[in-house]
Homo-oligomer: 480 residues x 2
């Protein structure tokens, strides 16, 4: 281990850059620095050296402080948090995960809670309130300042997962008749209270959104030009009930830094900023990936959820799959007469349905992804399915040849080997057609296509696969 | 179908907002408007009405024009593109997918190509050049202006997938001794040539990055303050060879709009902006999801890739899985003596290994995702594996009870039913341990954990599953 004092020196030089403290020290990555902050913070708190801990945290970014606090034992979290300056405390608090946020709220005295909650940005506060028990929320809401209470209550009124819930009402609005100089004055006076000043929204007297202008355009314009002259009138906006994933996709599509949100009467009520978009994408992707793995996602952190809840969520899909798989058992059961005669047939069942499942999983994976990111192919199901069927045929032939050789080598029966090979080709084609078609079918009937993913295709192919296998085997064995 | 003239009216009112043309018309979503632009553009081009097509595109966002052009037949793409004004043409071109970009390049006359390529932002140009044949690239590079050539060559010198390749050298740098007024003047003069003016980078005489200041801070500061007084000295930066996914994660972590990129000597060489981050996440997520579905991703669009290439990429994994599955066949083959006696055993093989595969797929999905997004659990493998083992046990017991009943009902043999139930519990535990442990193992030996996903776990569980099943069955059948 490298000596602590030297490293503390590196860190406390104040720059977050990975840099040489002096030429003998190795360059330390930002991640290593974060680990160091974490271990040193714990050490200093255990020594009771609060001044040292305070000094340690001064040059650290709020997101990193939050991470360090999350890793502390619960009893130390509130102590560490109290070392922060008021402004920093709010930023750090917004970065904490919701479990730690809740346990801190319980630790704090009334006034401390109010100081923090009152100054959080309304969208972060709405997210916190989402997680707290309803009783605590109504108590906290009651104690906020009137304006803050209105902002939060507004956000809480919209459904979870919509633009209304993730927007912030803290934006700068301008009127068309202001000139550039006046607009800049207004921005200066509002900059402290608003989430972004880089996009400014132009509204009429009834708060209808009529235009948009960037701070960049404003800074480069002549002071005496009016906003109406230089603003863009072609505004892309979303409405309060737009799904958050669609909001994110729209911002991504147009490379915006923020997106205005309007109500049914086209009045501006808030904005969604690009930093939230990244988190939304991550959340939605996790949900998609969980679904593709057959895990029901509850929107919360899998690893922080109670084990019984986890089991309950997972068992639902497993039961559906198990019921489907009883079909496989029934099919094999019905063929026991043939199996008794040619017991060798049974050894290839897992190989055939396993390979079929894998081919199907590949097809469903690429199709589900293209549906989820709205690729142009998503509009041409027949083309996609046909293409996958061809791919399945090519793959089936390649693998079939190998399997025939392996089957003949293992069992010495040409009839069984040929039956296995032909079945594999048929199963590959079937699996890739099912794997590509079923996500489209699911979308058409209004389900999430991600539900029709690897585990489901694999299981569906199991049933059909053994059926095909026995049909082919019976046909060949009765003729050779 | 709704009448075209009325809809054209709605669109050409110039606002991109979803709005009522008049009270009798239904609200039209932005997506429907895009569809309309597409169909009308094609119609107008087919009629040879170029003035109409030009007027149609004037109020449309560049990203939407690009989409409309992509959907046109190839012969019409160049015609539509030539309708655009020069400035707009560049933005639209940057939004086109690389296939269409390439085919347009081939259609254009020399001067047209130069006009576009010369004015594209260097990072978009580097991406285009990545896709073009080397011969075309060197010809185009030779014809760019010296400064542009240097910018692009600089970017092309870095490895694909690193910060160096995705950064833009178009940023505004300031010196510490400038005052706020002078800095704003400098921004005004540079705003046209730079990708963002919202973050300004402070460098010393040797171009070392010493601080950062936002336009927001600048606008709210007093005109006579110096940059050195108000800038932030704690700069988070990445280096040119940092992996693009890490760059994206860092920007996400700190909610930045842009991230400075420095070279080995800590000199500022470029910035990565937040809009690129979203695209990087999408690209990396697609790669992860493809891997999780057992599809090798080539970084290009699956649906635009030649079918034989697709088959070649998919067959690699299928062969690995097939070879693993021959193990299953061998295990069953070795147990044929018992199968001959109790043929009923074979009907439960697919159900057992299928369920085991599904349980394992669930575990590997949640673990791989937590490794990929760098959740804190990613640092505690033993805790995760133990937890998953418990989950596997709970799930195994729940499903086992159902399976025992089903097996007894189907076969009437209590011994077989109990063997199936006990095997299912053992297989569930094994599958969830394997599903959670193998991604960690893969990470430890330097592979992408996503490779150890559903298809692989399923197949690995197949082999071990039949082995356990026969061992349990033999034990029980010889004793009851």
């Amino acid at each position: 281990m490298i000596g602590l004092p030297a490293l503390q020196g590196v860190y406390l030089r104040g720059s977050g850059l990975t840099e040489n403290a002096d030429s003998r020290l190795q360059v330390i990555s930002r991640k290593e620095l974060r680990e160091l902050v974490r271990s040193q913070l714990l050490m200093l708190l255990e020594q009771g050296n609060l001044q040292g801990a305070k000094a340690l945290l001064v040059p650290v970014q709020p997101a990193d402080i939050a991470e360090a606090i999350e890793e502390l034992p619960e009893a130390k979290q509130a102590i560490a948090f109290r070392l922060l300056s008021k402004d920093e405390a709010i930023e750090v608090y917004e970065n904490l995960n919701s479990n730690v946020q809740q346990s801190l709220i319980e630790e704090f005295k009334r006034q401390e809670v109010l100081d923090i909650v009152d100054k959080m940005s309304p969208d972060d506060r709405a997210r916190l309130f989402d997680e707290l028990p309803a009783k605590v929320v109504s108590r906290l809401l009651g104690q906020l300042s009137l304006i803050e209470r209105q902002a939060t209550a507004l956000l809480l009124g919209y459904e979870a997962g919509t633009a209304g819930r993730i927007m912030t009402p803290e934006y700068v609005s301008l009127k068309e008749n202001l000139n550039v100089f006046q607009a800049l004055e207004r921005i200066r006076s509002l900059a402290r209270f608003t989430e972004t000043v880089y996009y400014l929204y132009v509204v009429d007297i009834a708060r209808h959104l009529t235009g948009i202008i960037s701070l960049r355009d404003l800074v480069t314009a002549q002071p005496e030009q009016t906003i109406g002259e230089i603003m863009t009138r072609d505004v892309v906006s979303v409405s309060t009930d737009t799904d958050q994933e669609e909001v994110a996709r729209t911002i991504q599509r147009y490379d915006f830094l923020a997106m205005p949100v309007v109500d049914r009467e086209e009045r501006l009520v808030g904005i969604v900023t690009v930093d939230d978009v990244i988190d939304i994408f991550e959340e939605e992707t996790t949900e998609d990936i969980y679904r593709m793995g057959g895990v029901q996602s509850g929107g919360d952190d899998y690893f922080q959820t109670n084990l019984l809840t986890v089991a309950r969520r997972r068992v639902v899909w497993l039961l559906v799959l198990l019921l489907t798989n009883t079909g496989t058992t029934a099919v094999i059961h019905s063929q026991e007469d043939m199996l008794k005669k040619v017991v060798a047939l049974s050894s290839f069942i897992p190989l055939l349905i396993g390979t079929g499942g894998n081919v199907g999983a590949q097809s469903s994976t690429v199709v589900i992804r293209s549906l989820n990111v709205d690729q142009p192919q998503a509009n041409h199901p027949l083309w996609v399915i046909q293409r996958e069927a061809f791919a399945g045929a090519i793959l089936g032939v390649m693998l079939g040849v190998i399997v025939v050789i392996w089957a003949y080598f293992l069992q010495g029966s040409l009839a069984v080997a040929i039956a296995v090979g032909i079945s594999l080709i048929a199963i590959s084609i079937l699996a890739s057609v099912a794997g590509s078609a079923l996500p489209f079918v699911f979308r058409a009937i209004g389900f999430d296509p991600a539900l029709m993913s690897a585990p489901f295709i694999t299981t569906a192919v199991d049933v059909l696969g053994v059926f095909i296998y026995f049909a082919v085997a019976r046909f060949i064995l009765t003729r050779i």
